[in-house]
């Protein structure tokens, strides 16, 4: 498995490998079949696995998620796609009230191996209703696992882990990373393990998806100043690998969290709250959350760029943390 793939190819490969290895796995969503997905992340699956296992649905997100729930409870392992992550808003009941709670509400009778894939995030000029990073909407809903892959390897591995997990997993695939190239690795594939993307002793920088790549770019620049940041990609937000962050913090004593999306009520704020509550003695300076502006995602390129945390913002924040 050493050939280079794009993220979208890795996603299609992961689904194909799960479909091939388990007859209970089925895929459905809007245009995932004959059209190969609006993001071309399911190309070739319909031809290979046929219309029984790769199904095009109407534009009916409630029906898509509900169908996944019912099918899972009867023993299948459905992969449902709801296209743009913003559309989670039109089936929020099925995601937050049904999928997340069904196991609890049935006293553990329901087993819900449901994977819901969504295309996430800003940076491609889709405007405010097609650009949100919506993973934070679900942090307050116990019962869901949340995966936020930022590399080819993780797009493949986390998706396979999600399909094999007996719990509902929301997988956010970042639109701006779909063309990114890389290789995939052989398993095992696990949810809940952060990855130290770049080691460093001066500042712990936690970032996902686009922001992870932004942090890596900043790391190169900062290294020129003699500042070594440690970049950690949590890869899943639920469960969250606090331990890996705490280990790093014990070394750096400085924490910077970079989050695509507004600061309030997000995983970044929650992580900082947990770290300060549980590891207060580790901090030399107050932690920083670098997040998007508290506005809808704007359309014009210059505005959208201003909305999103960028490389220069990470560099500045890291310098300030080191200087204080």
């Amino acid at each position: 498995m050493t050939a280079e793939l794009t993220c979208r190819e890795a996603i299609a490969q992961a689904i194909a490998d799960e479909l091939a290895s388990d007859p209970d796995v089925i895929l459905f969503g809007e245009d995932v079949g004959a059209a190969g997905g609006v993001f071309k992340s399911t190309v070739g699956l319909f031809e290979r696995f046929g219309p029984e296992r790769v199904r095009d649905t109407p534009i009916s997100e409630q029906a898509i998620v509900g169908t996944a729930i019912g099918a899972a409870m009867m023993g299948l392992r459905p992969i449902a796609e709801i296209m743009f992550a913003d559309f989670a808003g039109v089936c929020f009941d099925q995601l937050a009230n049904q999928l997340a709670k069904y196991r609890y509400l049935t006293g553990g009778q329901a087993c819900l191996p449901v994977t819901v894939r969504m295309a996430n995030g800003a940076g491609a000029g889709f405007g405010a209703q097609h650009s949100q990073a919506t993973e934070n909407w679900f942090l307050n809903v116990p019962g869901l696992k949340i995966a936020v892959p930022g590399t080819v390897e993780d797009c493949y591995g986390l998706l396979r882990a999600a399909v094999r997990d007996d719990n509902p997993v929301l997988v956010f695939e970042h639109k701006n990373l779909l063309g990114l190239k890389g290789t995939v690795k052989k398993g095992p594939y696990r949810l809940g393990e952060a990855s130290v993307v770049r080691p460093g002793n001066d500042v712990t920088v936690v970032a996902t998806q686009q922001m992870r790549h932004c942090a890596l770019e900043a790391a190169d620049l900062l290294a020129g100043d003699g500042i070594e940041i440690e970049v950690i990609d949590p890869r899943t937000l639920v469960p969250f690998d606090d331990e890996r962050v705490a280990e790093s913090l014990a070394k750096t004593a400085r924490l910077l969290v970079v989050q695509e999306g507004p600061p309030c009520g997000g995983w970044g704020a929650s992580l900082i709250a947990r770290m300060t509550s549980n590891h207060f003695q580790c901090f030399d300076v107050a932690p920083r959350l670098l997040a998007s502006a508290e506005t809808p995602v704007p359309f014009a390129a210059r505005l959208e760029e201003a909305w999103m945390p960028g490389c220069a913002d990470v560099v500045n924040a890291a310098r300030e943390l080191v200087a204080s």
Binding site: R55, Q62, A63, T67, G70, D93, R103, G107, P142
Partner: protein
């Protein structure tokens, strides 16, 4: 469809029906009932009658429990609608799936859940159907194919599609039945469900229990076309109208729909015309009902109506039926007393069953 069924329900054919936009009181005289003597009594009549009685007495007890403050939250009772639940659920076999609304105690009991476990859940006891985690509005018993009543209006409908899809995909000949209220026909999930069920020809039967009120509002005040089975036309599936207070009529219609589903002929919408004797929920005395409406429906109570059929067939005497009532009532009371002795779940169960 078998001969004879057509007389007792109507297949909606897209316009020949002339029953649209009637008020609920007009609906109450919808169809002349067949005379009890004409009816063929099924061999399992005893079980059917007992099942309806269980639901009636169960709900009476739940009402009393809530009234006396022994139970928390709210509840939604279904006295008067027993024939719909029993008629349909009596046709389900192992492997079939059933979902229903929060007015679902009846369907859950009719599908075979144990009475004491249902009481236990409503009382929030550890021995309840869902270990005390869910309460009155979320009852589930997966071993019996009861994959959940639902507290969100219409939310069980998309979920029922999935059970239908699993049956279709595995070619099991199983069926997914979803009970839902008239009020739910105006929520988006209903539309999405009907269309997807039809376009994928899923083995799904949607049973609309038309009790004429969506919460506190009469159907006609919120719904432009009140003959709900007519919605089926828009989705290209059969829509069947049935007197929901006539157990045998419900069963015949359901048999038709379920057979079609099992045979791979796709979904059916059934509208069962019925009435809830109680208000919407615990806090609703139903003062919005026109004078005399309840009395009209009490005169069409599905339980005495079925008892008349039993008597006409000479399958039992009035004394036999009285004894069945007394025995069933005693069984319900006994189940409740048993559930009352069960402990509440200990606090450390809080974190169980969030994830597997």
């Amino acid at each position: 469809m078998r001969a004879g069924v057509r007389e007792r329900h109507r297949r909606w054919d897209g316009g020949k029906e002339t029953l649209m936009n009637r008020t609920s009181s007009e609906n109450s005289v919808a169809r002349p009932a067949d005379s009890a003597a004409d009816r063929q009594l099924p061999p399992d009549w005893h079980q059917l009658l007992r099942s309806m009685l269980c639901i009636r007495y169960f709900e009476d007890q739940v009402k009393a429990l809530f009234g006396s403050g022994l139970v928390r939250g709210s509840t939604h009772l279904c006295q008067g609608q027993e024939a719909v639940a029993v008629g349909v659920c009596s046709l389900l076999t192992p492997g079939d799936a059933m979902t229903c609304s929060y007015r679902g105690h009846g369907a859950v009991l009719a599908a075979g859940a144990a009475m004491d476990a249902c009481f236990g859940e409503i009382l929030g006891r550890e021995g309840g159907l869902c270990k005390g985690k869910s309460g009155s509005m979320h009852l589930a018993d997966f071993d019996k194919g009861i994959i959940g009543s639902n507290a969100i209006v219409g939310a069980q409908l998309p979920i029922s599609l999935g059970a239908g899809l699993a049956a279709q995909y595995r070619k099991t000949g199983k069926v997914s039945v979803a009970f839902t209220g008239d009020g739910s026909t105006n929520i988006g999930a209903f539309h999405e469900t009907m269309n997807l069920a039809a376009v994928w020809r899923l083995p799904v039967v949607v049973v609309v229990e038309n009790n004429h009120y969506g919460e506190y509002s009469p159907l006609a005040a919120t719904t432009s076309v009140t003959r709900l089975c007519g919605r089926a036309t828009a989705y290209g599936m059969p829509g069947l109208l049935v007197d929901g207070n006539d157990l045998l009529a419900v069963r015949e219609v359901a048999e038709d729909a379920i057979s079609r589903a099992r045979a791979g002929q796709g979904p059916t919408l059934i509208e069962a015309d019925t009435y809830r004797h109680e208000g919407h929920s615990r806090s609703d005395p139903a003062k919005y009902r026109p004078a005399g409406e309840l009395e009209l429906w009490l005169a069409r109570d599905p339980i005495p109506r079925f008892e008349e059929v039993v008597l006409a067939a000479r399958a039992a005497t009035r004394a036999d039926l009285a004894s069945l009532r007394d025995g069933t009532k005693a069984d319900v009371e006994e189940a409740l007393e048993r559930a009352k002795t069960w402990p509440e779940p200990p606090a450390n169960r809080l974190y169980e069953d969030v994830y597997r």
